[in-house]
Point group: C2
Chain length 405, copies 2
């Protein structure tokens, strides 16, 4: 019998009525002939409440104890859903991370799954018992509960699907799929039937926060087919899959944007070997993630301007690190701009098609939008623009690439 | 270094401020030179909330899943207290039932502790680390979380104290000790400095609900010295200990009462062998606990009256069972009375002293209180009286046995 993993987030199990609703959805898949494993998050709000408690007791709390506390939320929902399933005649049993076990690294608070022993789960599934698995948690090398970081239940679900060799991993959430762009910006945004792993990865990391990035990486590595769909509507969602499975591949699949950017420019940096290392070494040591980097051509061969972006939350720290290293770097002036946004065009089709970038630049020029920084990858072109022009840019690009419905 | 077990109930860890207060109490004992293990309950109200959820989802829920859900409350407080202790500079680590492990029987919902492996705990204590243990829970033979029944954290604490060979087990609660009788009935009730295990057992099972009965039995078997004291005041409590440790043993230690009784009389039962079995066999099969039993002397050798008491919660079921078995029993009339109370005089001293019962009967007679049923054990005399005379009886007996302060 084919196996199916179903994952339900915090809003989908927020109260007993919704837990009953989830039980009915699970029963339907069982009745269709699937062997089902369900992965659940904590009831909405529970994890936040416990995180706040830990912080209030000690701002620098022990991550091991934090994990013990916050993992309890998923424990509660797994037991309650098992009870709700049994009540409607579906055999079910809850499973905590340590019971399966789901082994993880020892990095408490954001551990990585290293191994899932699917033996017992497979036996129970074969007996017709639904496995209700507490998401977000595992067990570390020290025999202590670990958690996978916020949104980690998505990763739990994909990892379980990989271990069980499931036909599909359905992620039920409060949106009904992945869109060509943010529907709040343009009502012409369309729900995608399918999206390639690589595209989803770019979408996820660029602020289309439907799935945790790590879960998409894991799905891509293990070729787990992931469907994103709504808990509250009865409609097919978006399938995240191998690009080979997408027959009518569009050149561009979506337009993503991020307003969490800040731009830093070092003016008149000496144009000599080692200067990039002098700038980005201390930033990396400080744990600051540098995104786009542009080095202007040096006019006189002596000085150059270096521009880069960092996340807005890390902006102040980045400035502090740069200023502390002025001696080693030797810049003349530091310019900053927090009023910027990154807009990206994403599509695996651009690997084999020229002209995608040109369309982007031309469209933005026609709208009078100035491009401040450009960066590209195999399947993505990103530009940095003034923040207030984000909506205009996204709408124009959505139309230009033929994504309007 | 001597070892100490400290147990804190739900009201003692009801919020973060109280958890901080508990941490300070633990630190004080550490500073005094004790190796400390702490056993905690769930925050007040949490367990009830989860029990209600399980019931609402399914009145006949799976006890395994119930245990998974409700055990989460102690998990949260153990982690939070460990964080609070570390915050004030006390090394601490939380321990869940399955981590120690605390092995139990497989009777989910009211499991019995079968074994505690104290090896790792002892190592950690020797390193100066406080062990914060989730009470109420263990792990069953099926590798699933079990719970010990309501109030089970007392039992956890005593079992841990026995396993660690602790000098004492301090049970912090919302009362400040064990009293000679209920202070709500007479302000002359005195706090006892010490009470023998056997006496405490009678007190606990008779409605002086300070400690779970099972925890007292366990303490008696393993000779664990248990102190009951207040979380909110800084005073010594009552030590539950071996009677040899009580130098000035009183004849009577306390007056207990219970209003949860109901009396059933079968009039004109045939006075022949096997009639008691015909009555009490079906009741036992129905899980009904019969307490006091009196069989009147048969006047004519043919018929007798049989009177007994059951818990008021089981009264209706008991009547139903008796009526169903009228053929086998053959009584002529069934009289019932729910308006009764049991008053008991308790003291290990009565083993070696005559006249204790006589004082009771005389005192009640002087107050015009009619005794309906009498039952006695080695260290206890109980009488059944009209419920409305309970307070009068308790006060008079308290004075008669010299317990007034």
């Amino acid at each position: 019998m084919p196996k199916l993993v179903m994952k339900f987030g915090g809003t989908s199990v927020a109260d007993l009525e919704r837990i009953r609703n989830v039980a009915n959805k699970v029963k339907r898949e069982v009745d269709r002939g699937y062997q089902v494993a369900v992965v659940v998050s904590a009831m909405a709000g529970e994890t936040n409440k416990m995180v706040a408690w830990a912080r209030e007791l000690s701002p620098l709390h022990d991550a091991r104890e934090y994990d013990t506390v916050v993992s309890s939320g998923e424990q509660v929902t797994s037991g309650l859903l098992a009870i709700a399933l049994q009540h409607i005649g579906v055999q079910a049993r809850s499973w905590l991370g340590w019971q399966i076990p789901i082994r993880t690294s020892g990095l408490h608070g954001s551990a990585a799954i290293t191994e899932i022993d699917a033996k017992v789960l497979n036996e129970r599934l074969a007996q017709g018992q639904v496995a209700v698995i507490a998401g977000f948690q595992g067990i570390g090398p020290d025999n202590r509960i670990t958690t996978l970081g916020r949104g980690g239940s998505d990763t739990s679900a994909v990892a379980v699907a990989a271990a069980l060799k499931a036909e599909r991993c359905d992620i039920y959430t409060d949106v009904d799929g992945v869109y060509t762009t943010d529907p709040r910006i343009t009502p012409k945004a369309q729900k995608l039937d399918k999206i390639a792993y690589e595209e989803m990865l770019e979408m996820a990391s660029l602020g289309a926060k439907v799935l945790q990035t790590r879960s998409v990486e894991l799905a891509m590595i293990h070729r787990v087919r992931v469907q994103v769909l709504s808990s509250f509507e009865d409609l097919p969602g978006t399938l995240v899959c191998d690009e080979d499975e997408i027959v009518e591949q569009q050149l561009v699949s979506g337009i993503a944007y991020s307003r969490d950017e800040a731009k830093i420019t070092l003016v008149k940096v000496p144009d000599k070997p080692g200067v990039a290392a002098a700038i980005f070494g201390p930033l990396a040591d400080g744990g600051i993630n540098v995104d786009m980097i542009v080095q202007n051509v040096s006019e006189d061969g002596k000085f150059t301007d270096m521009t880069f972006t960092v996340g807005r939350a890390e902006f102040e720290r980045a400035i502090h690190i740069i200023e502390r290293n002025i001696g080693a770097i030797g810049y003349q002036k530091l310019l900053t701009d927090k009023n910027v946004a990154k807009v990206s065009v994403i599509g695996v089709g651009m690997r084999t098609h020229a002209g995608v970038a040109q369309t982007m630049f031309k469209t933005l020029a026609e709208k009078g939008i100035n491009i401040q920084v450009i960066s590209t990858s195999e399947i993505k072109i990103s530009v940095l623009i003034a923040a207030e022009l984000t909506d205009t840019a996204v709408r124009a690009l959505h139309t230009a690439y033929g994504l309007d419905k």
